[in-house]
């Protein structure tokens, strides 16, 4: 690979959800749909992302901001390879790690130690590599003898700590973060912030989703504003954050105007 190649290249990315095949789908609704297939094709699709272009260079830390449902998390999932693009392409140079995975693979009936093995295997870390990492994971999670008790006996905080420790055990080339900065109690939060900063210095590129705009201006060297699945702005953090704040304020005013609470303000 060329050293100068970007860490992540996203071209014309579109991610479409099929609303007819959600988790509550039953055979009946599908059969019903076959019956009137010609009627309004494509009406039951939802584009979570549409025509998105993004390049992330090595060494960059990108903040993704935008209102809920803008497609920020979808973009992270697509970069991680979990969601397949419906259109466009994504090229990633290096090993990707998401910190989305806090405790996702946990089996409540197994002990913490068994869960480290299982979660590691799901993430593709096995055998000697995992054995070498385990002491560090135990040390960081700091849950003492509970490690040999079933995870169902853990408190939410303990579970989060173990999940965080596993997820951050390997140093990825490309780090994807989705609002994981507020995990556990005060002490662990400080510790996890430190660990994330450590990972950030080691990773070649970072993409993070956060609603903490101060965090974006402090840590990111670029920020991208998404709205309704589209890229609205891509630029310096201060600039993007300012634009986002402006748009949020404008929307609030508009909403207030149409709701009729400030009748005079909305007058032409």
């Amino acid at each position: 690979m060329n050293v100068l190649a970007p860490a992540i290249v996203v071209r014309g990315l579109g991610v479409r959800y099929n609303l007819t095949l959600t988790r509550r789908t039953t055979l009946k609704s599908t059969l019903a749909r076959f019956g009137r297939r010609s009627a309004a094709p494509g009406a039951r699709h939802f584009w979570a992302l549409k025509d998105l272009d993004l390049e992330v260079q090595h060494g960059e830390t990108i903040g993704l901001i935008g209102p809920n449902g803008a497609g920020k998390s979808t973009l992270l999932l697509a970069i991680a390879g979990i969601l397949e693009p419906s259109t466009g392409s994504i090229l990633v140079d290096g090993k990707v790690s998401t910190l989305l995975t806090l405790g996702a693979g946990f089996d409540a009936d197994l002990t913490g130690r068994d869960n480290i093995r299982l979660a590691g295997a799901f993430l593709g870390i096995e055998g000697k590599e995992l054995e070498a990492l385990t002491p560090g994971i135990l040390d960081f999670a700091d849950i003492g003898d509970f490690i040999d008790a079933p995870v169902k006996t853990y408190s939410i905080g303990m579970k989060a700590r173990l999940g965080f420790s596993i997820a951050t055990a390997i140093t990825p080339d490309i780090l994807l973060l989705d609002e994981v900065l507020g995990t556990g109690d005060q002490e662990f939060r400080a510790k996890s912030q430190l660990r994330i900063r450590e990972l950030m210095t080691q990773a070649k590129a970072i993409v993070m989703v956060t609603h903490d705009l101060a965090y974006v201006t402090e840590f990111c060297n670029r920020a991208v504003l998404l709205e309704q699945g589209r890229l609205v702005h891509d630029g310096a953090p201060e600039e993007t954050v300012a634009l986002y704040r402006e748009r949020v304020t404008k929307k609030k005013l508009l909403a207030a105007g149409t709701s009729g609470r400030f009748e005079g303000a909305a007058a032409p």
């Binding site: 071209r11 014309g12 579109g14 959800y17 099929n18 095949l21 959600t22 988790r23 509550r24 789908t25 039953t26 055979l27 009946k28 599908t30 549409k50 025509d51 999932l77 991680a80 390879g81 979990i82 969601l83 397949e84 693009p85 419906s86 259109t87 466009g88 392409s89 994504i90 090229l91 990707v96 998401t98 989305l100 995975t101 996702a104 693979g105 089996d107 009936d109 197994l110 068994d114 093995r117 299982l118 295997a121 799901f122 993430l123 593709g124 096995e126 055998g127």
Partner: protein, 288 residues
């Protein structure tokens, strides 16, 4: 939509999906490269099942015995069926049937019950039904212990053909694997599959020679149709090596030709199941 249509350029793993043979190769690679993960999942399953019950893993052995006892009571006391060593006759078929039924039940929820995992971690989803199959094989192995105990009072029926059991089990394992992959993917899309599965398996069992033998039916179109069922050949083979036939009161050779056909059909089904699974795999994260 205002946007101009773009050429879909699939990234990375999606490329092979377009070509069936590539998908097959990739599916086999998924399973081979994640052997350890599958093993951990099987171990997790074994640790979990029955740990909160009084007699624990003895249920692996008790379950088929109790089921057999129920059928035995029904058929000897109520229907007055006159088959020698009827308990062994039943057990030889119930044990492998239970293997298939419980594996398919497990497999049907193997993907749909792991929403968080599928939506947040990138891993080959084929390992999930594969783990169900692995756990099922272990359960069947425990069941063989029950069979060994059971054969003690019927020791005069034991013959060297009993050693052909792993061969029949191997054919059945391929068949089960193909179906397990299918139901795991289908149930991720349609939760009805779980409901339909129970009824389908029950009907299928009654249409398979579990409680009766096909020989008892006599020649005719019904028998011909029923013998097209792969499970008919499999159950019949188990019964022949364990119990024998109506004429011979000890284990005899299985029908190798029929088993060969079932193996061929199962391998084709397995290849198709892997190809189909790889095709729909990217959708799981979106629909769960």
């Amino acid at each position: 939509m205002k946007t101009s249509p773009r050429e879909a350029v699939p990234a990375g793993p999606a490329t092979a999906r377009r070509r069936p043979l590539g998908a097959l190769r990739e599916g086999i690679r998924d399973i081979a490269s994640r052997r350890r993960l599958i093993r951990y999942l099987v171990a997790a399953d074994l640790k979990r099942t029955h740990t909160d019950t009084l007699v624990g893993r003895a249920w692996w052995i008790l379950d088929p015995l109790i089921q057999m006892a129920i059928y035995w009571i029904l058929f000897t006391l109520i229907f007055e069926r006159q088959i020698p060593d009827f308990a062994l006759f039943l057990f030889a078929a119930i044990l492998p049937w239970k293997w298939m039924a419980s594996t398919l039940g497990d497999a049907s929820t193997s993907i749909s019950s792991r929403v968080a995992l599928v939506r947040q971690v990138q891993f080959p989803k084929l390992v999930l039904p594969a783990a169900s199959v692995g756990a099922g094989i272990t359960g069947f192995a425990f069941g063989l212990l029950a069979l060994a105990l059971f054969l003690v009072p019927y020791h005069e029926r034991i013959s060297p053909w009993l050693l052909a059991l792993p061969l029949i089990a191997a054919v059945q394992a391929v068949f089960i694997f193909a179906l397990a992959i299918g139901v795991s993917a289908l149930n991720a899309f349609y939760r009805d599959v779980g409901n339909i599965l129970g009824h389908t398996l029950r009907l299928w069992f009654y249409l398979s020679p579990g409680l009766y033998s096909l020989d008892a039916l006599g020649p005719g179109p019904v028998r011909t149709i029923l013998s097209l069922n792969p499970m008919a050949s499999i159950l019949d083979s188990y019964r022949r090596i364990i119990w024998g036939t109506e004429q011979v009161a000890h284990g005899v050779a299985p029908d190798f030709a029929a088993l060969g056909i079932v193996l061929g059909v199962s391998l084709v089904l397995l290849a198709l199941a892997i190809m189909g699974f790889k095709r729909v795999e990217p959708a799981f994260a979106r629909i769960l």
